[in-house]
Amino acid sequence: MLLEIDSLDVRYGRNHALQNLSLQIDHGEIVTVLGANGAGKSSLLKAILGMVKPAAGQIRFDGADVDRWTVPKRVRNGLALVPEGRQILTSLTVHENLLMGAYPRRDVRAADIDAIYQRFSNLAARRDMSASVLSGGEQQMLAIGRALLSKPVLMMLDEPSLGLSPLLVQELFSLLQQLNTDGLSLLLVEQNTNMALKVASRGYILELGRVVLQGPAVALAADEQLQSAYLGE
């Protein structure tokens, strides 16, 4: 197993964001986590990265107990997050944002950054401009490029399709599939259920901080009751 989460609890004061959550991701897998707003999806990703401290539970990554690891250590060891809302640093240039992605690593070469520019030619054209001039789609590319530069083993994405046009959503998901084919494991949080279940091999459905359903993506996609009950379609 690449990632093993066992009975994870996350609380904000009295607010119980995650309860007794267990989840596994195998090497090379795409796993999706679905659920309505407030279900606890973002809290899960933040807990995996170490941005929030769990009240209970265990997280193992690549065979190591990461519970006491700082965020920088987790990033150095192959965890990366493409956060909700992209969180581009708008006071920095596009290029500086990419350099920040490579920040925790010493082994990032100019060629690695060139590879990102080759993949995303829009970013190359705006290399030295302030990142605030980018469109929503370009910002998402920058957030993904930035995460890739930390050379992750598992990349987590928090609602990456939010606010993108249907065409860009198509492009995004084929990019994710391609990255996965190249060997990257993905944990994909989405509200775009259909697309997510198409690319993922397995899925988890969260409701109010608990896993209410889990299984192969095809089975979840075929489950009509699930579609109406939890995914609002």
Partner: protein
């Protein structure tokens, strides 16, 4: 010519304000924290500089100094001690204001408590100095004396000129570091959004003390330059300089380094010119009057951004 001379004097006075204003602006820009201990750091450095040269540490220390260090190098020891004490004091403040709040409440920036405790540190440091050396103004044994050079009828005090050049150079180096080094980028990321910086793997907890080291260093250099320029120090010099520096910082725009430089020079000029025109008693009125006017007309200052505490470098 007399007016031009006053302008020269004002700009040279501004050099000291620039450094203190930049120290204020750095902590506000990076950490969203108005650090009230800055005047104390400035004053501590000036006092330690005086004490090393003027026997403030007792005859035992003076004998040691005379024995081990040639007379011409005493000021280097004095400056070194001044830097050391200001940086250590600054780190102490980081530990007990910023970091304490951060670990206890997860966020140091949304509480007034660091502000109040930094005010507490200011008063404590001042009174420790008063207990040790009293409140009387003390005369500094400056190694640079009162040398002047005359260029085209204008008189430039050598220490003043040096401190202006020195302070602009230091701030310029600081700016280059912020803009073009890896640590500088990390600091700018923290200034814009500490959570994003952390998410990208920046060790925010480890890098924040660096801001305090730089703050302490800037204040120390400003304090040393003040001691050399005015050759009189006392426990309250920090308050006087820092209030004017704060005015300069706000004029230039909170959290903007270049704003702090321009603002610091402007208040220096304003102080000297209003003394020249209206006399010494009135000097606070134009400085603070201009500040209030700017706050009304352009609250973000000359170079500031509309939002305070987000991405200004």
């Amino acid at each position: 010519m007399l007016l031009l001379q006053q302008i020269v004097n004002g700009l040279m006075l501004g050099g000291v304000y620039v450094m203190v204003a930049v120290a204020f602006t750095l902590t506000i820009g990076m950490l969203n924290f108005l650090n009230f201990t800055i005047p104390a750091l400035f004053m501590l450095a000036a006092m330690f500089f005086w004490a090393t040269l003027g026997g403030g540490f007792g005859s035992g220390f003076t004998n040691l100094l005379n024995h081990w260090v040639p007379q011409s190098m005493h000021w280097v020891v004095a400056a070194g001690l001044a830097l050391l004490v200001a940086i250590l004091a600054s780190l102490l403040i980081e530990r007990f204001t910023y970091r304490y709040m951060k670990t206890r409440f997860g966020d140091a920036t949304e509480h007034a408590i660091p502000l109040v405790s930094s005010l507490g540190f200011l008063i404590m440091f001042e009174h420790l100095v008063i207990m040790t050396w009293g409140t009387d103004p003390l005369s500094v044994n400056s190694p640079f004396g009162t040398a002047t050079i005359k260029v085209g009828g204008l008189l430039f005090g050598v220490p003043q000129l040096l401190s202006l050049v020195f302070s602009i150079a230091i701030v310029w180096v600081l700016h280059i570091m912020l803009m073009h080094t890896k640590t500088g980028r990390a600091l700018r990321s923290i200034a814009e959004n500490p959570d994003t910086a952390l998410m990208l793997g920046v060790d925010v907890q480890r890098i924040v003390p660096l801001v305090y080291v730089v703050t302490g260093g800037l204040c120390a250099i400003a304090g040393i330059l003040f001691a050399i320029n005015y050759r009189t120090v006392g426990p309250y010099i920090g308050d006087q300089v820092a209030t004017v520096a704060i005015a300069g910082m706000v004029l230039g725009g909170l959290g903007n380094i270049w704003g702090a430089i321009v603002g610091g020079l402007i208040v220096g000029l304003l102080e000297v010119l209003s003394t020249y025109w209206f006399g010494a008693d009135i000097v606070k009125v134009p400085v603070w009057g201009l500040l209030l006017l700017v706050l009304i007309v352009r609250p973000s200052g000359l170079f500031g951004h509309a939002t305070i505490g987000k991405g200004k470098f």
